[in-house]
């Protein structure tokens, strides 16, 4: 059995070696040999994946725990560096390292000829290290290390092409917005520490603590503090997983290389919020208020982002909003304590969204950097493999029966209806007693509507990109080519995943492998919350409704976009008018709530307070100088006169001494 410490160690080694290569080769004209660097870059994630796979097959029931060493040890606070490998981290690790390796492979083709080839892979390896630490750690503080680490790598990779300041600004935005969330995470940890000392940051201790609370009927006592902690953790999750209100960074993050968008901003990093909720599931299960907030936020995010996805012209932006929307689904599921369903959706989403992004990357690659969908079209014949991959992934994301997305999304919608216990409290109006109005139907309906919109905007993407006729310039048409094999292989593998990943938990045909894996971790939390709808409903009803929604959306997309004349692309691919208002709604909120007040404060400090202080200081100085000048003017030019004057002073002193008899 290999040590758990090895799994993050491999990418870390890779990062160090590749970083060293990048720095050493930076002086030379040609750059390092791409074959060598590429091999190293794929080797380390692949080794790590192999390690995870090996561990997965031999995992004992309760998981593997391993404490490496002590990390921080100060009075009142002690945290170890330790790893926990259980059902949840197993699944996360498998797809993180697996997809990570695939995307590293894909990147060899995508980044071919880039000056920062080695640097790019150093970052990718660093990212994988952080992500592995995030999901493998056995305590919150170490998770936080990974949490900020992935944020840092995201920053580095968004701003990878740093000659363009726009990319840098997008990167800065991503990091700062994430920082806001991270502070929530940090303060959440502090709240937890007040409840149970630093040991409670360990996940095992935490869940023991929670079960102790439940068994001892102390729930009412701890819930207020835990609720605050829960909300703070949730703020952290909204930052990392791009939920309302901290979602503005994700669309901008598309400035990075496309494989990065696939790996970090679709498949892995952004789902760490969902992971954290599942990890802390036992705690969240106690906090109905927080759960309701999560549902509402997830619902609003899913719907808002789906609509925003309709308005985008940039192929990557569509996928970005789609990601936000799908993350909204996952949060909704978490909000009704369906943590296994949310992780399942994370899992399937990772496949189909990564496939979509890589496909988009291949398209962009084929079109020499063109990202505006209005200038594409008819690529089905020119790049058939890419098109097939994307169409499979498309079917998966809209929830076409049998594809991966169908199983997971269906499960989430079902759980939403069954478990959502939100209600409007009963009230009295005109003497009538109105009973509690349950809201599970509303939540379910919004989820379903979002599924329809998802099918519409994804259908639009596929139609605009692959069908119709090519709308770009003539000379660019001749250069269109299929991607090299090194890029196609990962795409095809991911497309397989997009089709078949759902069969790990196909409720309708009785496969529950996924649920069983997760049960030891999140089972207790899910059992704590009783379903709102106790009547038994046939799951087939939900499946049919979901299928109808998908088909309806695809039909609408076909009706609108297949025949419509596409407006000629003018300049920027950004949406305009009302579409822009909707898209940049949260950007403007951030601007008025965050950026402008801080700038005004900074202005006050700089221009008012500091100048006033400086003036005060210089006034004091000036007074001293003036006084000094005044005294200096007593100084007569002739030395002798001065001595004469001092003799006079002596006389005066003498007289005083004599008059007082020396007793003064």
């Amino acid at each position: 059995m290999i040590s758990l410490g090895l799994i993050p160690l491999f990418p870390l080694l890779g990062c160090i070696i590749l970083g060293a290569i990048a720095v050493i080769s930076s002086g030379s004209k040609k750059g390092p040999a791409e074959g060598f660097v590429g091999t190293l870059a794929v080797l380390f994630p692949a080794l790590s994946f192999a390690g995870v796979a090996l561990l997965s097959f031999n995992m004992p029931e309760g998981g593997i725990r391993e404490t490496l060493c002590n990390w921080i040890d100060i009075p009142m606070f002690r945290v170890d560096i330790g790893f926990l490998f259980d059902g949840l981290s197993r699944i996360m690790l498998l797809f993180v390292t697996g997809i990570g390796s695939l995307i590293a492979l894909y990147s060899i083709g995508y980044m071919h000829g880039d000056r920062g080839f080695a640097r790019y892979f150093a970052y990718i390896n660093l990212f994988l290290f952080s992500m592995i630490v995030l999901v493998l750690s056995d305590n919150l503080l170490l998770t936080f290390l990974g949490w900020e680490g992935v944020g840092l790598c995201s920053y580095l990779l968004i701003g990878f092409w740093n000659k363009d300041l726009k990319n840098c600004q997008a990167a800065n935005k991503a990091f700062i917005v994430n920082r806001v969330g991270d502070i929530g995470f940090l303060l959440g940890m502090l709240f937890l520490v007040t409840v149970g000392g630093s040991a409670i940051l360990n996940y095992d201790v935490l869940s023991n603590f929670i079960s102790m609370v439940i068994n001892g009927n102390h729930v009412e006592i701890v819930v207020p503090v835990l609720s605050v902690a829960g909300i703070l953790f949730f703020i952290g999750c909204t930052g990392k997983s791009a939920q309302i209100p901290l979602l503005t960074w994700l669309p901008d993050a598309m400035a990075g290389p496309t494989p990065v968008s696939a790996l970090i901003h679709a498949a892995t990093m952004v789902t760490s919020g969902v992971y954290l909720l599942a990890r802390l599931g036992s705690m969240f299960a106690l906090l109905p208020v927080v759960l309701d907030i999560i549902v509402v936020v997830g619902m609003l995010t899913a719907f808002w982002a789906a609509v925003a996805g309709l308005f985008q012209n940039d192929i990557k932006k569509v996928l970005a909003y789609s990601t936000i929307s799908q993350l909204g689904y996952m949060f909704m599921a978490s909000g009704v304590c369906a943590f296994d369903a949310s992780i399942f959706h994370v899992f399937t989403h990772a496949f189909f969204k990564a496939a979509l992004f890589l496909g988009a990357g291949a398209v962009i690659h084929a079109l020499a950097g063109e990202q505006d969908m209005r200038k594409m079209g008819g690529l089905l014949k020119k790049t058939p493999v890419t098109a097939c991959v994307m169409i499979f992934a498309f079917l998966a994301i809209v929830g076409f029966p049998g594809f991966a997305g169908f199983w997971s999304k269906d499960l989430i919608l079902e759980r939403l209806f069954m478990n959502c216990s939100m209600f409007i409290p009963g009230f009295t109006i005109f003497g009538h007693e109105v009973p509690n109005i349950p809201l599970n139907g509303v939540v379910y309906a919004v989820g379903l509507a979002t599924a329809v919109i998802t099918a519409v905007y994804m259908g639009r993407l596929i139609i605009l990109t692959f069908f119709g006729s090519y709308r770009g310039s003539k000379e660019s048409e001749e250069h269109i080519h299929e991607a090299p094999a090194v890029m196609l292989i990962p795409m095809v593998i991911l497309a397989f995943g997009a089709v078949f990943a759902g069969y790990l938990w196909a409720d309708s045909i009785g496969i529950k492998f996924f649920a069983e894996t997760l049960a030891p971790v999140v089972g207790a939390a899910q059992a704590y919350n009783t379903p709102a709808v106790t009547a038994h409903l046939n799951p087939v009803v939900f499946a049919v409704l979901g299928t109808v929604a998908a088909l309806l959306g695809m039909f609408i997309a076909y009706k609108i976009y297949a025949k419509a004349r596409i407006p000629a692309a003018k300049g920027s691919s950004a949406p305009e008018g009302g579409k822009a208002t909707w898209t940049f709604l949260f950007d403007s909120i951030h601007k008025y709530v965050g950026i402008i007040p801080v700038n005004v404060l900074a202005w006050i400090c700089d221009v008012v307070v500091d100048k006033v202080l400086a003036a005060a200081q210089w006034t004091l100085g000036a007074i001293a100088t003036i006084l000094g000048d005044g005294v200096a003017s007593f100084q007569v030019r002739k030395v002798r006169v001065q001595i004469a004057l001092s003799i006079l002073g002596l006389i005066a002193l003498m007289v005083v001494v004599l008059l007082t008899g020396g007793t003064l």
Partner: protein
């Protein structure tokens, strides 16, 4: 012996440098760097060796005071790390200065060595007058170096710096003198005992005088007027030392001299904490608007040190390790950033952020270091900065969620300005054409890389730092036990004379007793009517020593 060497040998080194050739910068720099390495090695040995003290040597007698002034050095975890910072940063400064001031390297090295000696003295002095002596002595070489090697406005900067800091500590001198006339001698304990005996109004005035000196040195809002211009105009290696080691003298003073001596009211404590937090926010906001790279770093330092001061006055149990880690982390990372900014200035000839940019494509090695250092300053987990800031947050949490929230806010702001800084300096395209100056030399790059790696090491294993604060149990020490027995025998007899008490005190100190323990033992020995005051002082001393 090590203590004497660390304090006095830098001055000897400065004299040695006087004898080297003025023109031949190469050979004199080699000598200087070798000596710098020696001092750094000694400071590491000091950390490894744990707490030690020298014999208390009578130095001189101030007329009107009861006891003499001692030349008495002692090291504890906090002090030895500060000494490490001052020696290590001086070493890097000596290395880095080869590129910046080759004109009269010798004079620069003389200044750096005397500054290092004064700083080491400040951190190691166990006698109040000795401490004050070195505290003031630090200013002079620094001001001379600024005036000699600074930027365009160097004379103004040097004057502002010297006058501001000297005026700031002038009240402290008066207070010191006043306490000396009351106290038995100039040691910490007798100070504490003496101050406890004074009426409350006097105590407050004295406290204010002490505070002012440290507030100016740190600097804390509103006494930061000297800082931006000084750090900006000083040569970059010196700025690094100023922020990395010298400004720590302020925080050090709060911990070692203010907290044990003065019984602080709750209002004063929370007031200072909020002042520190306000400084943290203020520094961050000012850094957001700064247009000069070095000024940005100056305000960033101010913010971090504000956070450290807030941490000190949280008076939490975790305060001392938290603040120590924060100080060490900030010392190294801010130092590295100043050096890097100095290199950027050397290469491009400007430090205006709008005029910089595009270095990442022109000079990748430099930019890698620069970006790395920036990331370190962001307090990303895994770096020492994170451990420091997180534990300070933890300490602040003792005072309630609001201070921690404000501290968290400063973390967000620090991310904002630091990213802007990185972007402006190394990303994008060069804002203007310029003749490229000397690039990073391998030795420079290596030394800065070592600093950054140190930050990582401390980030993953902060026990290197925090363990130095854990003292071995005093009673296990046989020598100490014997002293205690002797003292117990002596107890029934006539009250001890001042000399005897002093002897006892230094023996106890040598045996590894902490200040408050010594104070209480001596109070027992005296058996006079001041015992009540002593117990009071014990309580106030306790907070700090507990944290130790």
């Amino acid at each position: 012996m090590l203590l004497h060497l660390l304090v006095l040998a830098p001055f000897v080194a400065a004299i040695l440098m006087v004898m080297t050739s003025k023109e031949d910068a190469k050979s004199s720099s080699r000598l200087a760097i070798l000596m710098g390495i020696g001092f750094t090695a000694m400071s590491v040995a000091l950390i490894a060796g744990g707490s030690v003290s020298t014999e208390a040597i009578e130095w001189f007698q101030i007329p009107g005071c009861k006891g003499p002034v001692y030349y008495y050095l002692t090291s504890h975890g906090l002090a030895s790390w500060m000494v490490f910072l001052s020696s290590g940063l001086s070493l890097v400064a000596l290395i880095s200065a080869r590129g910046i001031t080759c004109r009269s390297y010798r004079n620069f090295a003389i200044g750096i060595f005397s500054l290092m000696g004064a700083m080491n003295g400040t951190f190691l002095a166990a006698d109040a007058v000795l401490f004050f002596f070195f505290f003031e002595a630090m200013v002079i070489p620094a001001a001379v170096l600024i005036a000699g090697f600074g930027g365009k406005d160097r004379m103004k900067a040097a004057m502002t710096f010297a006058i501001y800091t000297l005026v700031g500590s002038a009240p402290m001198m008066v207070a010191l003198w006043y306490v000396l006339t009351v106290a038995d001698n100039s040691m910490l304990i007798s100070f504490a005992v003496a101050v406890q005996g004074l009426p409350e109004g006097t105590q407050n005035v004295l406290l204010g005088c002490f505070m002012l000196a440290f507030l100016v040195k740190t600097p804390i809002f509103p006494f930061h007027g000297w800082q931006a211009i000084t750090y900006a105009e000083a040569p970059a290696p010196l700025s690094a030392i100023l922020t990395g080691a010298m400004s720590k003298a302020g925080v050090f003073g709060f911990i070692v001299w203010v907290l044990p001596i003065f019984p602080l009211s709750m209002n004063a404590v929370s007031g200072m904490m909020w002042l520190g937090l306000f400084t943290a926010v203020y520094g961050a906001l000012m850094a957001l608007r700064a247009t000069d790279g070095k000024k940005l770093l100056a305000f960033s330092s101010m913010g971090h040190l504000g956070l450290a001061v807030a941490g000190v006055f949280s008076l939490s149990e975790a305060m001392l390790p938290a603040v120590l880690v924060l100080l060490v982390a900030h010392g190294i990372s801010a130092g590295a950033q100043f050096y890097l900014m100095g290199i950027a200035e050397r290469m491009t000839g400007t430090r205006e952020l709008d005029q910089l940019g595009g270095l990442s494509s022109k000079n990748p090695v430099f930019s890698t270091l620069f970006g790395f250092a920036g990331v370190m300053a962001l307090a990303v987990p895994g770096t020492a900065g994170f451990v420091g800031e997180f534990s300070v947050l933890l300490a602040l949490w003792d005072m309630g969620p609001l201070p921690a929230l404000v501290a968290g806010f400063t973390l967000i702001l620090s991310a904002a300005y630091m990213l802007r800084f990185i972007q402006k300096v190394i990303f994008g395209k060069a804002a203007r054409e310029y003749e490229e100056g000397r690039r990073t030399s391998p030795l420079e790059g290596f030394s800065i890389a070592v600093m950054l790696v140190l930050l990582l090491v401390f980030g993953f294993h902060p026990a290197f730092i925090t363990n130095s604060l854990v003292e071995p149990e005093a009673t296990e020490n046989p020598a100490a036990a014997q002293v205690l027995n002797n003292a117990a025998l002596n107890n029934g007899e006539a009250p001890m004379t001042e000399e005897e008490i002093h002897q006892l005190d230094s023996t106890l100190a040598a045996a590894g007793f902490k200040d408050d323990e010594r104070a209480s033992i001596i109070a027992q020995m005296k058996g006079d009517n001041s015992s009540e005051a002593v117990t009071k002082s014990e309580n106030s001393v306790k907070e700090t020593s507990d944290a130790e």
